[in-house]
């Protein structure tokens, strides 16, 4: 009787360990993408890239604020109707001149 109880207990423990092992194996084996799984080196590069990109955005915001101020002043003084439009056309064509169905970098 004691032997049977021991065997059943052992079987339960073995089953539990088997399930735990299988779960562990599955979680190990499946590829997943997550920032948690990146190396510190990759994360540092990501941060540097994000930081550069944010600086570019800040620079453009600064330029646009200046352009808006200048445009507002020249329009309110009655001088800048044509020149503002001309400036807008020039800046749009600068961007467009490099855009025509170009491959991405």
């Amino acid at each position: 009787m004691r032997t049977n109880t021991g065997a059943i207990a052992m079987a339960v423990v073995a089953l539990f360990l088997g399930v735990a092992a299988a779960a562990q194996f599955r979680s190990q084996d499946v590829y997943s993408r997550s920032l948690q799984l990146e190396t510190p080196s990759s994360l540092t590069t990501l941060i540097a890239n994000l930081s550069d990109r944010n600086n570019e955005l800040r620079n453009e915001i600064f330029d646009l604020r200046r352009d808006i101020e200048s445009a507002t002043n020249s329009v309110s003084s009655g001088q800048g109707t044509l020149s503002e439009a001309d400036q807008g056309s020039a800046s749009a064509s600068t961007v467009d001149s490099t855009s025509a169905r170009s491959p991405t970098s």
């Binding site: 590829y31 990501l46 994000l50 990109r53 646009l64 329009v75 439009a85 749009a92 961007v95």
Partner: protein, 247 residues
């Protein structure tokens, strides 16, 4: 007395065997756990949380800056539009600006086209020899974008990031960045343009051979479907063009 001794031996052997199985499983479990610990180096465990926090904070800041930039562009556009409603020359210039803004990707677009879905193969094993072929890479996205241009696309966006001349698609580790924005699969590439031309380009056996082969063999997710009323947002990133002058 001596006759009762032999039956005890098989019982002992049986008991040992019962212990052997859990012991082996326990050993397997410990080994796997140990492998996990060694793969995630001490450096990763120690430095990753603050680095991930910093990356997420910068991404949130970028989203905020893009929103602000879009607002300022709209404001400047409004000033220029109001300023150029008086004479014929001004109206002509404004029409040219609108045309250029459209082709530069600075205005949202809507129309018919195709949607391309790209995703990692499901349940890819990290120990698989072909893992590299089972997941999508930045170069796959670039190839898809270029095929869409070739098929006559007028406007393209990847997960709502508009593709323009200054767009960048690259990867850092397993993370893909489009226009400097962190992205991960699945990718939805929306291309507005002539549907037959676009589908023809993607169906062309000479195009995207590698991706199609990986879809058929490794189960890479790649699907092209017709779609109506696709919305492609305006480019929201910086357009600081250096070393270029308008002609």
């Amino acid at each position: 007395m001596t006759a009762a001794a032999p039956p005890l031996r098989p019982r002992r052997v049986g008991r040992s065997l019962v212990l052997l199985l859990p012991a082996v499983l326990f050993g397997l479990l410990v080994t796997l756990q140990w492998r996990t610990q060694t793969e995630r180096s001490e450096l990763s465990v120690r430095y990753n949380p603050p680095l991930i926090d910093a990356a997420n904070a910068l991404q949130n800041e970028q989203n905020r800056l893009k929103t602000e930039l879009a607002g300022l562009r709209a404001r400047l556009d409004e000033i220029q539009r109001n300023a150029s409603t008086q004479t014929g020359a001004e109206r002509e210039l404004q029409a040219r600006i609108d045309d250029l803004l459209g082709s530069a990707g600075l205005t949202p677009r809507a129309g018919d086209g195709v949607v391309i879905q790209l995703d990692d193969a499901r349940n890819v094993s990290v120990s698989s020899r072909d893992i590299d072929k089972s997941i999508c890479h930045a170069t796959d996205l670039t190839d898809i974008i270029n095929t869409a241009w070739k098929g006559g696309a007028d406007a393209i966006a990847v997960n709502d990031e508009r593709i323009v001349s200054s767009s960048s698609v690259y990867c850092v580790g397993s993370t893909i960045m489009v226009n400097g924005t962190l992205m991960s699969p699945p990718f939805n590439v929306a291309a507005i343009g002539p549907q037959n031309g676009l589908l023809g380009a993607f169906d062309d056996p000479a195009q995207l051979q590698d991706i199609k082969q990986r879809r058929d063999v490794q189960g890479l997710g790649f699907r092209v479907t017709r779609a109506s009323a696709i919305h492609v947002p305006a480019f929201s990133g910086a357009l600081n063009v250096r070393f270029a002058e308008p002609h």
